[in-house]
């Protein structure tokens, strides 16, 4: 086993015990709340966070909230049901489509998409935002394109204008923000806290919506690389179907993996390069350990640094002058 593969390993049992103790203390003693609400998407992060909450607080003090909308994968709700049943918690399903529709989310989204693809037809076309392909294979800055998938045609991709990009992001971020609103409604009426499900990759690389999925009272897996979340998932006996599912954004109408939307490198490689960087290893040392070239590793290291630097605003809490 390579040095980095070994260093990525955590003692899952000890980590679960440590996190459970911390969550219990924070929620019951510091926050004075009686339990916790978690948004469940059918993905591995929310599944692990739910399992940890049950471990820490007991199944009767945890509520899972599924919040599908028009563009959600049908699998998301099915898997949310499975995970809730598996861990014995109450599942509340709150379809957020009517609220988003009333706020004009879908109309705003369509208007911004039409700036790039004027003949966009929301009734049949599907879209997603994508970054250039695998950073290990080719260099390239993070430039977003809009991909249009029309039945019976090849996928079309166009670079977005700044206005169209910001319009699409602002409209689609309404989805995460309405979910935050719903989570706090269900938490407050029970005197519960809200548990966020961001992992280290999402938090530090800026793959979250400020005051959307980033809005929570505590984030128990925020210090863990995605690869380590998988280790906890296996220990906590999260269903295999969820562990094996490719992480998606579940935000746009076309299915989009987190790798193509944002991270640009498979998690199992990205995480080891990042760990090596944090441990002070050079690109050359990481490359030798992983069987890559130093150039490939340096490219990924530069991207990690750049994303962290340019998303600092997302992690900043409201500022005040003293």
């Amino acid at each position: 086993m390579s040095i980095l593969a070994e260093a990525m390993q955590i003692q899952a049992g000890e980590e679960v015990a440590r996190l459970s103790k911390w969550m219990k203390n924070q929620i019951f003693h510091e926050f004075k709340r009686r339990g916790a609400v978690i948004g469940v998407s059918g993905g591995i992060d929310s599944a692990v966070s739910l399992a940890l909450a049950v471990h820490a607080l007991g199944k009767n003090r945890v509520v899972a909230l599924a919040m599908p909308e028009q563009d959600s994968s049908p699998d998301s709700q099915k898997l949310a049901e499975e995970i809730s049943e598996k861990f014995g918690v109450e599942l509340v399903v709150n379809d957020v489509f009517p609220a988003l529709d009333a706020m004009g989310c879908y109309d705003k989204l369509a208007a911004s998409i039409k700036e790039t693809f004027p003949d966009y037809d929301a009734s049949q076309d599907k879209i997603k935002l994508v970054l250039p392909n695998n950073l290990l294979e080719k260099p390239g800055l993070n430039i977003f394109s809009l991909a249009l998938l029309r039945p019976g045609q090849l996928e079309q991709r166009k670079i977005l204008s700044p206005k169209a990009y910001l319009g699409i992001v602002a409209a689609s971020n309404m989805k995460q923000r309405i979910r935050m609103l719903s989570l706090y409604y269900h938490a407050e009426k029970r005197n519960y806290a809200v548990i966020g499900t961001a992992n280290k990759n999402e938090h530090e690389q800026g793959f979250f919506v400020k005051y959307g999925d980033g809005g929570a009272d505590l984030q128990p897996i925020r210090h863990l690389y995605k690869s380590q979340v998988y280790q906890l998932a296996r220990y906590l006996e999260v269903p295999q179907e969820i562990i094996q599912r490719t992480p998606t954004t579940d935000t746009y109408s076309a299915e989009s993996t987190q790798e193509e939307f944002y991270f640009r490198v498979p998690f199992e490689l990205l995480d080891k390069i990042w760990l090596g960087m944090e441990e002070g290893m050079t690109a050359d040392e990481v490359a030798k350990d992983m069987g890559l070239t130093a150039e490939q590793v340096q490219r990924v290291m530069d991207d990690l640094t750049q994303k962290k630097r340019t998303t600092e605003y997302l992690r900043t809490i409201p500022l005040a002058i003293s």
Binding site: G140, L141, I143, R157, L160, P162, T310
Partner: protein, 81 residues
């Protein structure tokens, strides 16, 4: 310095740089290290280059060697024109 470099510098100053940092905006300075080129910034730059210089930018050309400084951007524009 030629017109291309100056136009690019002026655009960057007007859109990304605070007035008290204008003097620090060197022609070879890394825009990536300065934090100018985030996901929105790179789109704004591409849009500006296409509009201003009548070129078409392909995703595969949005590379640090073409976009990381005023001089690199200007060289890229000339090569495309």
């Amino acid at each position: 310095m030629s017109k291309v470099e100056n136009k690019i510098r002026q655009f960057l100053i007007e859109n990304f740089v605070l007035s008290d940092q204008v003097d620090e905006m060197g022609f070879d300075e890394s825009l990536l290290e300065k934090g100018v080129i985030d996901s929105t910034g790179v789109l704004e730059l591409v849009f500006f280059l296409e509009e201003q210089f009548g070129i078409e930018v392909d995703t595969s050309e949005v590379l640090p060697e073409n976009f990381d400084s005023i001089n690199r951007l200007a060289a890229y524009v000339r090569q495309k024109q």
